[in-house]
Symmetry: C2
Subunit: 275 residues, 2 copies
């Protein structure tokens, strides 16, 4: 049992907007949020949170940073397209890295290198190396969705609550400071045996926690991540806090019952994990 | 500048007891606590804390656990001798491991294995394997010295504040939860390139923080640790919060000026780091 927590509903989710799109994508799965939890929560000792998109609002962060930079340079840019392209390029490198076809580097390295590949598509910005360095550091100061610090604090009353992220230590520490979130532990794939969604990332996290994979629950807003966790033996919670993920990052429809928990937002997650 | 913090003076230090011994051991160094800080603190971005003895009271933890166990078994034991012997055996393994002459394992493994070597010396306990496992887990619930959570919170207003410890992730997470301390980051040598006092442990920590070694200050109550950090290029703060370290672990006399900061207790550390 966790302390009572009735933190903010996810206002974005409640406000319509892309909700119809998300409902269509999620299908029946989103309705499971109100069903009783059937997983044996007494077995779960630790929660590991994805954070990029799940906890931190990377898109607004990057849109704001690139919009400010464009204004300072007296030019215009499609900031949302820039943010989506950048994020996708980082994931392209990650996928190549996981299959042994790209240089191993941390997420700061991936972000910085991806910008060099965007010079042509966003020529209007004419980014200097220093400007690229500054933009790369914008990831170190992402805010969180509303209510997250309170939800994490509530969950920590019952569970060990850790980050498990492909992002770098400076991104994770810096953004947690910006967002005012205190974790029990930060686990970055930067120092784990593998990057998500490789099984040894999740299992490596469980080993460091001295737990069996089945004693750990991965919480994420991205089915690819949860599917990787499930394949590695972890329990899974599908969290849908975020309307502002661009459509290409919106989760594809998950199978009803595919994940152990379906939560509409952080308050719902706390309710279900602390019944 | 950190927020005003006038947390508890270290009552043990102020109360006499081993103070004369400590003063004799420390010589002039302890007087430096009241001198102006000459190091350029503006360069320091992160603090890395040793915790075993420096932050957490391992000795009382182990004395209490073994005393309780002996009472339950209706026998008597020299609990302080037991605690010292155990700690020393763990360090013996660590030294051998660092020189390539012992199996690589984390601190829980070292603690558990060391108990097997203590059967003869403490035969009156007749420890079963389960009892050894339970005692090993006692390290996961160490309390901190008074005022530490508040001091860490104050320092986090100005610095990124991390653990950098030879102890395992479960020890560090569990004891931080027991003590109510929130860190920006926990770095265990369990997942770093080396164990302290090897240079690559400190430098690996700085690399993960994306900082130069000289931008990181190691805080510890043990000169061997600070000397390792200094040799690796880190700044150093010598903290003397702990009267209950057994004499074999009391720091030998450090040279005046050997370390960048000499602090009498956590309140003094905050004062000097946040002038």
């Amino acid at each position: 049992m966790c302390p009572v927590f009735s933190g903010p509903q996810n206002t974005a989710l409640s406000a319509g907007g892309n909700k119809a799109l998300r409902s269509a994508l999620q299908g029946a799965a989103s309705k499971q949020g109100n069903l009783p939890v059937t997983i044996d929560l007494s077995r779960i000792e630790a929660l590991t949170f994805d954070v990029g998109g799940t906890v931190f609002d990377w898109q607004s962060t990057i849109i704001n940073a690139v919009t400010d930079l464009a204004a300072a340079k007296e030019t215009a840019v499609d900031a949302q397209a820039f943010a989506r392209t950048w994020r996708a390029a980082m994931f392209d490198h990650l996928v190549a890295m996981n299959s042994g076809n790209a240089e191993i580097m941390n997420a700061d390295g991936m972000h910085r290198q991806a910008l060099d590949g965007m010079d042509e598509a966003f020529a209007e910005l004419a980014l200097s190396p220093d400007e690229k360095d500054d933009l790369t550091r914008a990831w170190h100061h992402m805010p969180a969705w509303p209510g997250v610090p309170e939800a994490i604090a509530a969950l920590r009353q019952r569970y060990v609550v850790s980050i498990l992220s492909i992002l770098s230590v400076p991104i994770l520490v810096g953004s947690s400071r910006t967002a005012g979130i205190d974790w029990d532990l930060i686990l970055s794939c930067e120092f784990l045996p593998a990057y998500k969604p490789e099984p040894d990332s999740y299992q490596g996290a469980a080993r460091l926690l001295a737990l069996e994979p089945g004693q750990v629950m991965m919480v994420a807003a991205h089915p690819f991540d949860l599917r990787g966790a499930r394949a590695a033996g972890l329990a899974t919670a599908n969290l849908q806090p975020n309307l502002s993920e661009p459509s290409e990052f919106l989760p594809p429809e998950s199978e009803p019952g595919e994940f152990d928990i379906e939560a509409e937002d952080f308050a719902d997650l706390v309710r279900q994990l602390c019944p």
